[in-house]
């Protein structure tokens, strides 16, 4: 059986009448009828390079080299026919069998006539099959185009999503870093404050005790009054130090389960009695009934009253509003006031909003610093908000502040939630005990 019989020699000859096949020794095994007509004396078994010279690609006439250039356009010079080229491809159709698929490179009809060829020597083109081929090609390229477009669109969407994620990740990281820096600064200030407080308490002890002792030894009179003034100053210094210690987290009282709405009710009750009637106080907490945190009730009271003292100062003599809100939120993380990482989970959020004068951008970074104050001499110690910060840190929470000059200020406090209203009803031992505003 001829080796090319397996290919369907008749079919190939119909489509490629100029075909020929080569075996490993580069001898011609078979060829199409038109090629026989074109090349006189062409015979099966003839060596390839006796008949052809390779014009392109630039390879030697060896089986393996030709087999490697299957994708290349092949131009063959026909030695017997001067100046006529065959154009096509060499394909390894079976192991050790190359087939040339192609035809003369037609540059003019006249040239064909000169070599004794006419159109009938070329493959038959049926208009309908040509049309179908065209259609198929068009459909394929349209399909390809729309598939590529869809792929492009999908990767574009993926890229867009990744970019958005990256952007929010960068923002989140920047925010966390700035929160961390802030917390670390406050932390070292807190350590400084508590170290100083310890020393001052030691030094105040002899000042207070000895002054009282000497005073008690003295009869009534101006010197005794002077020493009373010294004692009074010592007491005031002691109170200042106690506040510094709260900021520095040196004081911890008993914690209990606290229902936040009760704390806010207690504080609001006290505030209504003390703030001027030009300031409206609203507390929207009813939806948050049953939110339980683990806290020291008196300290939470102090947080609200200190914030209220600041809000009242910010509103001044103008008409204004102080609004306190509580809600349950879920946090994905962040930085706690202590500088530790905030665990993801449920938190009770207290918002404290005033319509006061607002805080300038430059001052906003320092509001929690001890002894930072915008109030006049004698109006405030600059410890109020640092105490608030210390208490929130102490309770494992986070405090944030946002402010617009001329519009107002909002403090947001997030405390780890012990129970939400959806949990079993719980009795609480929180008592909203009033605490003097510092």
């Amino acid at each position: 059986m001829s080796r090319d019989a397996a290919l369907g020699a008749r079919e190939i000859a119909k489509v490629f009448p100029f075909y020929f096949t080569l075996d490993r020794t580069l001898r011609i095994v078979a060829h199409g009828p038109s090629l026989g007509r074109l090349i006189p004396h062409l015979a099966v078994g003839q060596p390839f390079d006796q008949v052809f010279a390779i014009n392109r690609p630039k390879v030697r006439a060896e089986f393996d080299e030709l087999a490697r250039s299957q994708r290349a356009l092949v131009l063959l010079e026909i030695r017997a026919v001067d100046g006529l080229l065959l154009k096509g491809q060499l394909v390894e159709c079976e192991p050790d069998l190359l087939i040339f698929l192609g035809s003369p490179w037609v540059t003019s009809i006249k040239r064909l006539q000169n070599v004794g060829l006419s159109f009938k020597d070329f493959a038959i083109h049926d208009p309908i099959s040509d049309y179908l081929v065209l259609l198929q090609a068009q459909r394929t390229s349209l399909d390809d185009a729309s598939r590529f477009a869809a792929q492009l669109e999908a990767s574009n969407r993926t890229l867009q999503t990744a970019y958005t994620r990256l952007e929010s990740e960068v923002t989140r990281r920047e925010r966390t870093e700035s929160e961390l820096r802030h917390a670390q600064r406050l932390n070292s200030l807190g350590q400084l404050a508590s170290g100083a407080a310890h020393e001052f308490n030691n030094l105040l002890t002899p000042m207070l005790c000895l002054t009282q002792e000497v005073r008690d030894d003295l009869p009534e009179g101006p010197v005794r009054d002077d020493l009373d003034a010294v004692v009074e100053a010592c007491h005031r210094a002691a109170k200042l130090i106690a506040n510094m210690l709260t900021f520095g987290r040196g004081v911890e009282g008993p914690r209990s389960r606290v229902e936040l709405t009760q704390i806010v009710h207690g504080a609001a009750h006290l505030l209504r009695a003390t703030i001027p009637t030009t300031i409206q106080l609203t507390s929207e907490v009813s939806a948050a009934r049953g939110l339980i945190v683990r806290a020291e009730p008196t300290q939470l009271n102090q947080v609200l009253l200190n914030l209220a003292a600041n809000a009242r100062h910010a509103i001044g003599d103008a008409h204004g509003t102080i609004a306190i809100g509580i809600e349950a939120v879920h946090l994905d993380g962040g930085t706690a006031a202590s500088g530790q990482a905030l665990a993801a989970g449920p938190y009770a959020r207290i918002t404290f909003t005033d319509t006061g004068c607002g805080i300038a951008r430059a001052a906003l970074d320092h509001v929690f610093d001890p002894f930072f104050t915008t109030k006049g001499v004698g109006e405030g110690t600059g410890l109020g908000l640092s105490i608030v910060h210390g208490i929130v840190a102490n309770h494992g929470g986070r405090i944030q502040v946002e402010s617009t000059v001329g519009v107002g200020t909002r403090f947001t406090i997030d405390l780890p939630m012990l129970e939400s209203p959806h949990d079993a009803p719980a009795e609480t031992d929180a008592r909203g005990q009033p605490w003097p505003v510092c």
Binding site: G195, A197, H198, N201, T205, L208, C209, G250
Partner: protein, 124 residues
């Protein structure tokens, strides 16, 4: 009149306590740290010990534990300036370990005398 041992690393605090306690008719022995306080406590019987918490050599809590081991009925008053190493809770610990009274510094004449009178009368 009672015999009192004052232990504090701050000489001015010891001096102030000596002044008001002697003024109230008591006899005062001083020690500058827990170890020295322990020696004084074992050398002569004391009615009341007033002891600082944050001290070098031997701190107040260790001193309290040693004294309780030597004399379970010791009337021990713990005091602290707070601050460093969350000393606020140091006093809580001292109270749980066995201090009869805890005092936050700064001390005033009245708080010291009230505390001493209280522990002497057996009402902490």
């Amino acid at each position: 009149m009672a015999r009192l041992l004052v232990i504090d690393d701050e000489a001015l605090v010891r001096r102030a306590l000596r002044r008001i306690l002697e003024g109230a008719g008591h006899q005062v022995t001083e020690a500058a740290d827990g170890a020295a306080g322990m020696i004084a406590f074992l050398a002569a019987p004391q009615d009341v010990v007033i002891c600082d918490m944050v001290m070098p050599v031997q701190d107040g809590l260790a001193t309290l534990r040693h004294m309780l081991a030597a004399c379970p009925t010791v009337k021990f008053i713990a005091m602290s300036g707070g601050g460093r190493s969350s000393a606020g809770s140091l006093l809580d610990v001292a109270a749980r370990v066995g201090a009869r009274v805890t005092l936050d510094k700064p001390l005033s004449k009245a708080t010291v005398l009230d505390a001493v009178t209280g522990v002497l009368a057996g009402t902490p």
